[in-house]
Subunit: 346 residues, 2 copies
Amino acid sequence: MTDTSEAPRRRTTLKDVAIRSGVTVSTVSKVVNNRPDVGAEVRRRVLETIDLMEFRPNPVARGLRTQRSDTIAIVTDDLEGIFTTAMMRGVEDAASIAGMGVLLCNSYGEPEREAQQLRRLLDRQIDALIFMSGNRVGPRPDPALPIPGDVPVAYLYEYGSPDIPAILPDDEGGARLAVEHLAACGASSIAFLNGPREWEATGDRLRGYEVGLTHLGRSLDPGLIATSPSWTPEDGYHAMSQLLEQRPNLDAVFCGSDDLAVGALALLRDRGIDVPTEVQVVGFDDRSLAVHQRPPLTTVALPLHEMGVRAGELVLNPRHAVTEAPALDRVPCTLIERQSTRNQTS
Amino acid sequence: MTDTSEAPRRRTTLKDVAIRSGVTVSTVSKVVNNRPDVGAEVRRRVLETIDLMEFRPNPVARGLRTQRSDTIAIVTDDLEGIFTTAMMRGVEDAASIAGMGVLLCNSYGEPEREAQQLRRLLDRQIDALIFMSGNRVGPRPDPALPIPGDVPVAYLYEYGSPDIPAILPDDEGGARLAVEHLAACGASSIAFLNGPREWEATGDRLRGYEVGLTHLGRSLDPGLIATSPSWTPEDGYHAMSQLLEQRPNLDAVFCGSDDLAVGALALLRDRGIDVPTEVQVVGFDDRSLAVHQRPPLTTVALPLHEMGVRAGELVLNPRHAVTEAPALDRVPCTLIERQSTRNQTS
DNA sequence: TTGAAAGCGATACCAC
DNA sequence: GTGGTATCGCTTTCAA
């Protein structure tokens, strides 16, 4: 095998830099960690040598000494969850500000794997831990391994023991947002095409729908609520047709997910009902498909990135937790206006 | 905040064990790494102390000394890819046999991120590297950072410079499998409902379809081939209807993906055409939805797990690469027989 | 402000 | 077989 890559020549160390710049390792170390007690001229010289020699401190050695790793780990049960990436980016953004890296681990939802992963992570001196659900908010059992008290922990998109702070989306508030938007756009009969009951978020969204209507001084009509047995567009399609059967005069429908909304849109199209002039539609989740619908779907966006950021900040500044201790942090959703609802200002 | 977890008491070290068992650290180290040069009695005693004290060697310290991390990293461009998890499990299985752990990193498909991640990984003394595509086989640029020659590298579900071995599914062979199965099940007019041309795998599958038919001594009929503009069931539905229009007498259809097959099944159902008595259907990928179709879908399974295993073994035994140097390893697909095709033996 | 030296927790070479 | 000890690369008192 002809070797195409660089020779594996020994990496330059603190000592190399020290010798080259005519000081001792102590001094170089101070410069690297930019401590104040270093003369300006010396610092300049050392810094110069550092990037001349392309020195990067060995994190393993540093870790041995400091017992830290500048790394925070995310343990998830579902890599493929459609929300993992967005949340992870949030965590990474928060982490990188603090000069930390993020590690992702998959427990496959198996406690045994989780324990194994945690053991590994803890052995590698992880500095903080975030347990994240990939696609579904809900309760979870305690970590498969007791976490040492000096490792901050948070739940993200899931929750459990009140000892561990959790970051969740404000599904209820999001649903209210949708209802209020529809009302503001002139809808008088707003239906709710809900997702499967077993999903915790659907309960929250239903509550938001009800609270929203009530708050608007409107009455609740059970005939305006349909529950789809699944999240698929197909079932959304059927549920929408039911809804129309029960309440032919409805002029708006709030869907519990974008997928359901896709189904609803399809049915409305098949029936020759125009969106948004005859019926307005709002989805939930702001999946990428929302923008590609005809018309582009107005939807409630989950604050995934922001949730990740908060989780990251939370574990990086555990002092917050001590003082404020917000066991449950509900992050507000935002409404993304597109063309499946009428413009509020027109 | 009342602390519910264990006190963070200092972890037990090699030295602790040594003292407790009345030997020196050298000896304990030997036992831990089960070196032969240790007396049976001493070994027993030390081992006993080890699990009495719940000693686990500190991988950071060990890493500093050995320059290794017992960890192999996977860098993927797509965490949410529907195939990531299965391949990752394969890698993990191969790794765990060698006592290695696996780290997953997301480059988000951005070279800059990839470079950043690689820098981090290399700094942390990763022992091997696998670049993995989450959902689509295709060529990729060289690693965003030159990889030191002593770190074995492999591509998984993607490929690039011939210096780096690649593990890919044998899409062509898989397609042949499907065609041959359909023929064996008595199909005389086998259509191919292909996916979008831009996807490399569809080309391979088309070739397999053609080679398969040719090999069976059948002629190729362009009218039996449809190309769906996307992978969605909707487009599969339409393509299937086209196919029937062009060749009303077809009695089998091989679909380029399970999703397309779902669409095809839907159309056949709508048309009142029975599967498998009138038309037999085979999918590709063996997604979980295949088994839930009516009838359950016969499909060609991608050897994802096996591919992961091979990638893992490859980077763990780079000597193989030196001698055999299989730049491209095509792993055979397997046929999963279900009820959308007629039983071969009946 | 700078430097000397003691670790962090393990491995490995070399005596005994 | 077992033990002493230098070493991996860096951080961190503590003196100078």
